[in-house]
């Protein structure tokens, strides 16, 4: 057995362990200068492992890793298939790019002494998210959920604005409620089936005698996750959290945190309960479609009226999550492909957008819309990245946003829901409004004092920003790779073989 | 205006002569009445008078003293 093959065997655990160990290392060293390289290295290892996993999974289909070698009933199983490998890839890649980006932004936004804490928390959050994605154990997922949540509260609280503390507190309470709901649901499942392993739960579900307990479990779990993924109308924590967190943290959270929650929901919906289960007279898909649509429209409209760009983008995120859950609710290959594509694409473009705003914040000290006036003249490259990201949010052809919406529309039609396709298109029109408003200010307004004083973002921030923006364009023109991965994920979720 | 009266008398004489001559020629009337000797003379008198009356009357109504002089001057 070669060295590489040995590593291949342990890839699932490397993905999670690398950032966790990195965090510990950063926390122990506690030197400002050293923390960033360590964090980047940890993220790099994790990303490399995730990247490798993609190939392994494509070959093997499913990679199961038993921690400590215990049988699934007792121990914890890490289970990687086409679905979560995509999530792993997104989370690690975006985290890596975010960390690359973070150095100067963090140096400017966070007090020197707290910088190591920040990186440590970033890594912990990353590890938590990865763990949620990779684990095949319902309770273990809860543990990772808590890990990621706790670190996230800290990250938000590190924001220099005092409102960041309020936002963090709010998120803490809401997140705890969500986690509690989730763990109650898992407990109910355990009572019914006697196991916490998802695969085993699925096996045993047909024998469950009390459907009520099951439905109650489903309700607790789904509402709990919905809180975490900011499904409308449980999204109210998100704009504040994203708005006041340090820029780098916002990038990480916006690009990955909600996506992992979406993944978890998909896992439970498709893998455990079955998407077509009905809660009484109400079908899950119907409710989900309804809420998704509400998110798409109401949150988009709310974004139109925002005065702070970070909040604007945050509301936009709520809307974009609506697209993703809509894709889940469609529950057909095209719709699911669209949903997973959008997870990828939204991570890229929202990451780019928040990175650009972070750069503006660094240079102008404000993310208020009015202060961005004319920034296109003094920070052209940043503004270009912001523009590309904005176009992606609209779904302009040539950007990746178009491709994912294309699949969503396709899915709607496949489902015989032409009106839904129309709604998708119509909500994109609202996106035109808020993105147009942003771009109008950035490019066409006369520069204000702040904008005139600003200079182009430092290269270390600019390059990651442009990288994500560039990928947004690239995947808009050649979406073969992400479409293939998302398609595989959809196939797996729908019960087929990859 | 003696000259005018002279001319008028001359024309009247000419017309009388023509009418007389008209009585001695073979007519090819198309509508009957136009074959009557002297019809054309009477018709000519009446028609001309009517034309003058019509034109004069219309001139009283529609004639404007001012010309489009400013433009004619400019246009040459």
């Amino acid at each position: 057995m070669s060295f590489l093959a040995a590593i291949d065997q342990h890839l699932p655990v490397i993905v999670v362990l690398a950032p966790l160990l990195g965090a510990v290392l950063v926390a122990l060293v506690r030197v400002e200068i050293a923390s960033w390289p360590i964090a980047v290295l940890a993220a790099l290892i994790s990303a490399a492992a995730a990247f490798r996993l993609v190939f392994v999974v494509e070959q093997l289909g499913v990679v199961s890793y038993r921690l400590g070698g215990f049988a699934p009933e007792l121990g914890i199983e890490y289970r990687v298939d086409a679905v979560n490998v995509l999530i792993l890839l997104v989370v690690t890649a975006v985290s890596l790019v975010t960390l690359l980006y973070a150095r100067q932004s963090v140096a400017a936004e966070i007090d020197g002494g707290r910088v190591p804490w920040f990186y440590a928390m970033m890594l912990v959050a990353m590890a938590g998210l990865l763990g949620m994605a990779i684990t095949g154990d319902a309770f273990n997922a809860f543990v990772f959920l808590e890990i990621s949540s706790l670190s996230t509260y800290t990250l938000i609280a590190l924001g220099r604005d005092r409102r960041a503390l309020v936002a963090a507190y709010q998120y803490l309470i809401v997140g705890t409620i969500g986690a509690t709901f989730y763990v109650i649901g898992v407990g109910l499942l355990y009572l019914a089936t006697g196991t916490l392993n998802l695969a085993l739960i699925v096996e045993r579900l047909p024998d469950v005698v009390s459907p009520r307990a099951l439905i109650a479990a489903e309700a607790f779990i789904l509402v709990g996750i919905a809180l975490k993924l900011a499904l409308f109308p449980l999204h109210a924590w998100l704009p504040n959290a994203y708005g006041y967190a340090p820029s780098a943290a916002t990038v990480l959270l916006a690009s990955t945190a909600t996506k992992v929650a979406v993944y978890l929901m998909a896992r439970f919906l498709f893998g455990v309960f079955g998407i077509h289960v009905e809660i009484g007279p109400v079908s899950v898909t119907g409710v989900l479609i309804l809420l998704s649509l509400a998110a798409m429209f109401v949150a988009s409209l709310a974004a139109v009226f925002q005065r702070d760009v970070k909040r604007l983008l945050a509301f936009s995120s709520v809307a974009q999550i609506g697209y993703i859950t809509l894709g889940l609710a469609l529950a057909n290959p095209a719709g699911l492909t669209g949903a997973f594509l959008h997870i990828v694409n939204h991570a890229l473009m929202k990451g780019a957008a928040f990175m650009a705003i972070g750069a503006v914040l660094l240079r102008c000290g404000s993310s208020r819309l009015d202060d961005l006036a004319g920034i296109g003249r003094t920070m052209p490259a940043t503004a270009v990245a912001l523009t590309i990201a904005g176009l992606g949010l609209i779904g302009v052809p040539g950007t990746s946003g178009f491709v994912s919406k294309w699949y969503l529309v396709l899915g709607a039609f496949d489902d015989g829901k032409g009106w839904l396709a129309f709604m998708i298109v119509a909500s994109s029109v609202i996106a035109v409004l808020y993105v147009g408003r942003l771009l109008e200010v950035v490019w066409f307004r006369e520069p204000g004092k702040a904008a005139l004083a600003a200079s182009e973002a430092p290269l270390s921030m600019l390059l990651p920003t442009l990288l994500l923006a560039g990928l947004t364009i690239f995947f808009g023109i050649d979406a073969e790779m992400p479409a293939r991965l998302a398609g595989a994920a959809a196939t797996v979720l729908l019960g087929g073989h990859p | 205006m003696p000259i005018a009266r002279l001319v008028l008398a001359g024309l009247a004489g000419l017309l009388a002569a023509l009418i007389v001559a008209d009585m001695f020629v073979m007519h090819h009337p198309a509508f009957g009445i136009d074959g009557t000797p002297g019809f054309a003379a009477i018709f000519g008198l009446v028609a001309s008078a009517a034309a003058i009356a019509l034109a004069f009357g219309w001139g009283q109504i529609a004639r404007r003293r001012e010309t489009a002089a400013e433009e004619e001057g400019r246009d040459g």
């Binding site: 924590w237 | 054309a40 008198l45 001309s48 003058i52 004639r63 001012e66």
Partner: protein, 558 residues
């Protein structure tokens, strides 16, 4: 076949137009006179066979084809161009010369066109050429009005052709005015013919040309329209009333007019009215008569315009109020004016008598009493203005004559003399005209009853003239005409419209201001409350989440 194209009568004229634009001096003079002469030769050498075809834009174009109508009009147009060119030799304006030759060439093109598209193309070039003749005299506003009128007539004709092309291709054939397409065609042609309600363009435009340019203008446009009517709408009954109105209109306005050239322009409309009536009758005789009258009319109206041009050139004015007593100083022009005026009045032994007789004969044969009597009466009226009023007030009446600074040159005299001689020759020997106007040989012209009839009519008119001379004295001023429709009405409409729109706008803006304020208030409240754009309290979030869960559980419990 294609070499027939080289015999196209319009070709030397259009080439000549370009040459004249480039050349100067004596060579230009030669080209200017020689090309119409060459055109006349070509009119008669062109074989009356099927013309050559060209494919253009998916259409089959026949740029030149000859028949007897074409030859008749072609001859008249060529003569007018020759006479006009000779007459215009003292006029040194290269622009006018080039425009005149282009105009004459396009008119020939209309006559010899073998299909509707070619016809229309030349029709438009004719409009451009004639407008340029007016423009070349510096008459920008009149030229623009003229150009707009012809753009209007042209596009009507164009639309008609384009609409009719679906049913029957582009062949030149008789149409019936029963579809909108053919009605559009008819309307377009009638605009050029000077039919009501746009008749006023003739008198508006032609007098704005130079003393020589008006000679060309008087010849082509309206008569080309007559030729086209003969080809496309023979026997269209609607033309009879149209022609009658034109004849009456032309007579009345000519009787009132002070400016000689405006009077002659009104007279054109009146005389074209005779032809239009004849085309409306539509019998072979009537059509031939219309053609013959057009031929003769081109000659005598040309002669009259030359006489008027001579007076204008000599004295600087063509207003009757400013003229008089010129007979002695300008005997040649006076003679020309009298010959032309008498020919217009159809005096026996002039050419006008021949062609008008043919028209009256056609009306009589068709038993069209109303038209016959009306046109007979108008003939008497024509005598009043053209045979009597014009020469009397312009030349003969005793008055202190304005000094004639520029005497007619030999070339001008040659042109006038030539035209006058042809008119008298045809009048004396009608066979000259009848020979190449097949169909009117049967008309009795120089018979004793006919001559006597006409003489009585004219002498009767003369008696009236002497009797009512005071009523016919020219006055300065203009008569309100149909051009009020496009010269005054739009201004009134614009004024009224802008006043109205200003009020409407004021009302609207007041209303919209109120509305926007209201909308703003509502939207802001909506944003604050409904859109969740503000901050939620944490408790609210928890409440919503719990409620959602509760609903789920409630449903599950049921």
């Amino acid at each position: 076949m294609a070499e027939t194209l080289l015999l196209a009568p319009w070709l030397p004229l259009i080439v000549g137009s370009l040459l004249v634009a480039v050349l100067r001096g004596r060579v230009q003079d030669i080209v200017f006179v020689a090309t119409p002469a060459l055109a006349l030769i070509l009119v008669w050498s062109l074989p009356q066979t099927a013309g050559p075809d060209f494919n253009w834009l998916g259409l089959t174009l026949t740029p030149v084809v000859s028949d007897s109508t074409a030859r008749l009009f072609g001859t008249a147009f060529a003569l007018a161009a020759i006479g006009g060119a000779i007459f215009a030799l003292p006029q040194r304006s290269s622009a006018e010369r080039a425009a005149a030759l282009l105009y004459a060439g396009a008119a020939q093109g209309v006559i010899f066109a073998g299909d509707l598209v070619t016809l229309f193309l030349f029709w438009e070039v004719m409009a451009i050429g004639s407008a340029l003749v007016i423009f070349s005299n510096g008459a920008s506003r009149a030229g623009l009005r003229y150009a707009l009128m012809h753009a209007f007539g042209g596009v009507l004709f164009f639309a008609g052709i384009a609409a009719s092309i679906g049913s029957g291709g582009t062949a030149i054939r008789p149409f019936a005015a029963d579809s909108i397409g053919s009605l559009l065609m008819l309307a377009g042609i009638l605009v050029n013919a000077g039919a009501p309600p746009v008749s006023a363009w003739v008198a508006d435009a032609y007098p704005r040309a130079s003393w020589s340019g008006a000679v060309f203008l008087s010849a082509f446009t309206t008569k080309a329209a007559i030729a086209v009517l003969i080809r496309l709408f023979p026997g269209e009954a609607a033309l009879i009333p149209v022609g009658l109105i034109m004849a009456v209109y032309g007579m009345i306005y000519a009787l009132l007019e002070n400016d000689i050239r405006r009077m002659l322009s009104y007279s054109i409309v009146g005389q074209v009215g005779f032809m239009v009536v004849a085309i409306g009758i539509g019998t072979p005789l009537a059509l031939a008569a219309a053609g013959a009258h057009a031929f003769v009319h081109i000659l005598y109206k040309g002669l009259l315009m030359m006489a008027a041009g001579t007076v204008l050139r000599a004295t600087g004015t063509a207003r009757l109020t400013a003229l008089g007593g010129l007979a002695r100083s300008m005997p040649f022009a006076t003679c020309a004016m009298i010959v032309g005026g008498l020919s217009l009045s159809a005096m026996p032994l002039t050419a006008g008598f021949v062609s008008k007789s043919a028209i009256m004969q056609a009306l009589a044969d068709d038993h069209d009493a109303v038209a016959w009597f009306a046109l007979t009466a108008i003939s008497a009226g024509s005598m009043l203005y053209a045979g009597l009023r014009l020469p009397w007030f312009a030349m003969l009446r005793p008055s202190t004559p304005r000094p004639a600074t520029l005497q007619a040159t030999p070339a001008m005299k040659l042109a006038m003399g030539g035209a006058g001689l042809i008119l008298l020759a045809i009048g004396a020997a009608p066979g000259l005209l009848m020979r190449f106007v097949p169909g009117i040989e049967s008309v009795a012209v120089l018979t004793s009853d006919h001559i006597l009839f006409q003489l009585q009519l004219l002498v009767g008119a003369s008696i009236c003239f002497v009797l009512f001379l005071r009523l016919l004295v020219p006055h300065a001023g203009t008569t309100v005409d149909t051009d009020w429709l496009w010269r005054c009405l739009p201004q009134l409409l614009v004024k009224a419209g802008s006043a109205l729109s200003r009020q409407v706008l004021a009302a609207l803006s007041l209303k919209s201001r109120v509305d926007t304020r209201k909308i703003q208030a509502i939207s802001e409240a909506w944003v604050q409350r409904t859109m969740h754009a503000g901050n939620w309290r944490t408790g609210d979030i928890a409440l919503v989440a719990t409620a959602l869960l509760g609903i789920c559980l409630l449903i599950a419990a049921m």
